[in-house]
């Protein structure tokens, strides 16, 4: 989707103003701790995957998304998922069982690897030129707008990984994943400060490009 979350290359957002690494706390407010823990703990119920989480956070009015702090966007996403999955209605909540601390520790340590078995040979080889398709549809995608329509070179092949565009809809699906290298000039013009930008992109985002592109 074309949302406010797709920030790469956007202008007029102001300075970064970092806090010092040596004094910045992990959480700045008690409510941030709670939102963080509630998000992870409810996620352990297995009713949504990380792409559904991201999509729930993205699907906000751009003004809202930009005004929210990071954990406010997490909160908005969590509330939306709980609502859409009808997990707070009285008759449905008995279906799920909260994770114990031990179980949670195991789940956190295990993580959720997204690599999957190969289903066929990848379409692109390292060194090949590819163009990122324009993908202006309403669903979740992980192809940032700033590379759509631009040509780059396949730098690495990472095997098959869960495909976010489908997984955000709750579907199980995997596609070949590549790191694609773009010259800064192709993205930002001749005075680009970046020499190269490398982005992980799934095969359906890409199409073969001519060598002179």
């Amino acid at each position: 989707m074309n949302g406010a979350h797709d920030l790469g290359g956007k202008h007029c957002l102001g300075p970064i103003a970092p806090e010092s690494e040596f004094s910045e706390p992990v959480f700045h407010h008690e409510w941030e701790r709670r939102v963080f823990a509630l998000t992870l703990a409810t996620g352990m119920l297995g009713q949504w995957n990380i792409d559904e989480s991201r999509f729930a956070r993205e699907r906000q009015h751009p003004q809202r998304y930009l005004a929210n702090s990071y954990y406010e966007n997490w909160l908005a996403g969590l509330e939306k998922l709980l609502d859409e999955k009808q997990m707070l209605t009285s008759d449905s909540s008995s279906r799920w069982r909260a994770a114990s601390p031990d179980c949670a520790a195991q789940l956190l340590a295990a993580g959720s690897p997204t690599s999957r078995a190969a289903q066929r040979a990848p379409a692109f080889a390292c060194g090949q030129r590819v163009r990122v398709r324009k993908l202006s549809m309403a669903g979740h995608t992980r192809a940032p707008a700033y590379v759509q329509g631009t040509t780059g070179v396949i730098a690495q092949f990472h095997g098959w990984h869960c495909y976010p565009d489908q997984r955000a809809r709750g579907l199980d699906s995997a596609e070949p994943l590549y790191s694609v290298c773009f010259t800064g000039q192709s993205l930002w013009g001749p005075n680009s400060e970046a020499s190269e930008v490398l982005i992980d992109l799934w095969e359906p985002y890409l199409e073969r490009a001519e060598n002179n592109d």
Binding site: H5, L7, G8, G9, L13, G14, P15, I16, E19, E21, V26, F27, H29, E30, W31, R33, R34, F36, L38, L40, A41, T42, L66, Y70, E72, L75, L78, L82, L88, S94, W96, A98, A99, S100, P101, A104, A105, L108, A110, G111, T114, R142, P144, Y146, H158, H161, L177, S179, G184, L187, W188, S192, E193, A194, E196, V197, L198, I199, D200, L201
Partner: protein
């Protein structure tokens, strides 16, 4: 449950605090989460998982060339052998800074970050300005962190759009040839492993370390 004291005790809780409290209460009542589990999750990420893990990996790479080569070839395997495993570190890649090429990591679409080796990301990493500008004007971004690279140094930006997580292996500072892994770790800042700063110099330790 620990508690921050950013505001005066007499100040009423904000709408946001009330909204979070209401949600937590409801989720506890419904049995969808457990209070002890919430506390354990917070404890893990506030006190156990953090950039010390990454600093250890970097110091090992500086000290041991074989480890370094293995790390660059398959960071997921090498780092998991050190026990730094789990969520947001399932697929790890280490990218190496040199005099010719500097690496910088960002996630423009959300704020993906290698939790297993760096802990939770700082506010600035999650901010709109960093997410917007790291890819398009990395040199200006680095300057805001006080990092001024020679014009001849190429800047390579990694945008973490998938579940691969990137850790920058900073250049080893001069004058540390005989340093132990424990000593070297002190030079490895979180910011250096994101790529917005260089590793600290030996003389920085005297100035800044408490």
């Amino acid at each position: 449950m620990s508690h921050d004291h950013e505001h005066d005790h007499t100040e009423p809780p904000s709408d946001l605090e009330l909204r979070v409290k209401a949600l937590e209460t409801l989720l506890l009542e419904k049995g969808l989460v457990r209070s002890d589990t919430l506390d354990a999750i917070i404890e893990t990420y506030e006190h156990r998982v953090g950039p010390r893990n990454g600093a250890h990996v970097v110091a090992l790479a500086w000290s041991n060339d074989e480890f370094r080569r293995a790390l660059l070839a398959d960071a997921t395997a090498v780092v998991s052998e050190l026990g730094y495993v789990g969520r947001q570190g399932e697929h790890l890649q280490v990218v190496e800074n040199t005099a010719e090429q500097h690496n910088l990591v960002v996630c423009t679409l959300c704020s993906c970050y290698p939790w297993t080796v760096l802990g939770l990301p700082p506010v600035w990493y999650k901010s709109a300005p960093y997410r917007a500008r790291a890819v398009s004007e990395p040199r200006s971004v680095l300057a805001e962190f006080g990092t001024h690279l020679p014009e001849s140094t190429q800047i390579r930006v990694w945008d973490s759009t998938a579940e691969l997580r990137y850790l920058v292996l900073p250049e080893r500072p001069r004058g540390t040839d005989d340093w132990s892994v424990e000593q070297l770790q002190k030079l490895v800042t979180r910011n250096a492993m994101i790529g917005v700063e260089r590793a600290r110099m030996p003389e920085d330790l005297l100035e800044r370390d408490p």
